[in-house]
Subunit: 274 residues, 2 copies
Amino acid sequence: MRLSPRHPRYASLKVRHRLAEAHRSGLVVPEGLIAHGRGEAFDYFLGERTSPSAQRAEHAAAEWLLAAKRPVVSVNGNVAALAAKEVAALARSVPGLRVEVNLFHRTGARARQVAAALRAAGVTDVLGVRPSGTIPRLPSDRAKVDRRGIAVADVCLIPLEDGDRTEALQALGKRVISVDLNPLSRTSRAADLPIVDDVQRALAEIARAARRLREGTPASGFRAFDRYRALSEAIDAITDGLNRAAARRPSARRPRRASPRRPRGSGGRTRRTT
Amino acid sequence: MRLSPRHPRYASLKVRHRLAEAHRSGLVVPEGLIAHGRGEAFDYFLGERTSPSAQRAEHAAAEWLLAAKRPVVSVNGNVAALAAKEVAALARSVPGLRVEVNLFHRTGARARQVAAALRAAGVTDVLGVRPSGTIPRLPSDRAKVDRRGIAVADVCLIPLEDGDRTEALQALGKRVISVDLNPLSRTSRAADLPIVDDVQRALAEIARAARRLREGTPASGFRAFDRYRALSEAIDAITDGLNRAAARRPSARRPRRASPRRPRGSGGRTRRTT
């Protein structure tokens, strides 16, 4: 399908098209496409840009990742399809950050495909293709992790993750940083540091913030993050966006006739068929 | 994947699972899955039930379909996957209603597959598998229609349709009834009678209303419908839902520690790796 840059939803349609292509290649599963659609609805009301509140969360995330002893970013099919380059930039910006493939709908072939997409984008070392550990309290396939990565991480950045896994990681005492456009999802509600933003924008901003932090005086330890405030601000931003969109209600359009009208191609009679 | 009925999102997950299966069989395209996800986000805030305003729109839709000379319901892959039975019930409730396959991503095989799903659900006569007409002002494949159906219809019910096609149908003087969970979509904004509801719930309710209307005194002609009010009420319902959901903010959860904590499996040291 060709897209016209003049289409009112061009940017969003381009990403959507890219994800559909990634699905055809097997990288993204059907459930991942549905999840992306949900995110699209939220991002639409956020104006498809990073809110000041999300930017503060992204800077705090950069601090936490730099303060971590064993930071890991978890990558699934949607993250690889949408933001492989941003994962690579993040890995370059945060020393010691491990990149681990972690799939909800796991097959060996898909894990290898996600790893290949990451390597093609410039990630040099990818964990999780041959899992060597498990997370307790999760069904078998979803629990598979790498003993050098998520299993021993103290800080996990989990973009586009599900609520069960978020809580399972926290039960192990790990700090969880989420990226999820829905501030009301179980993941966002559970995360220690919830980022309500698009995955590409969020990872790029965390990488930029990490580079800047490393140039200055590094912070000491884990600065407190007000997750309650971050989620409240995200909800307010979405409500504002919805109300702004609603203010552009269709009153300006031409009024529709209430009386019967004659469709082209019909005989023009107005008898009822009941 | 097995779903637990105790999961907080069980009903939504079941529909999601059904759509993913329909996609694996080729009935639903990747773009259809993404579109479903967008709808899910809106339905979540509508409380996954028909609002009083949507119900009024569905009753008006039943009147319009009964008042129409040549009513048609347009069916795409998502509609067939989610609501084939409801389309069949509607066809039984509205005399003369034609059911036409109409696909954005059209192939002959998919058109036949949608028709087969409709027939399996009890629709006796399905148009649109071998298109015989075109709608002006649309790219070739999307313009294909049946000369006995959409081409000559005076009222078109178009669940889950796109904005371009909605406007192209209206340019031909047809009355358009849309079903779309996003009250701000181009389709909802353009339709003469926008229904903001889930497709299964909406079609079932229109069918019920049509049966009741036929038992009583039928209305004469097309009663005026206040589309501005309908969309405003839908937007208000979504905003209310968002605010209610926001009121259940995560303040009640256990507070997260701001100080560093020791992850299991790590050496327990707290040095920074920057």
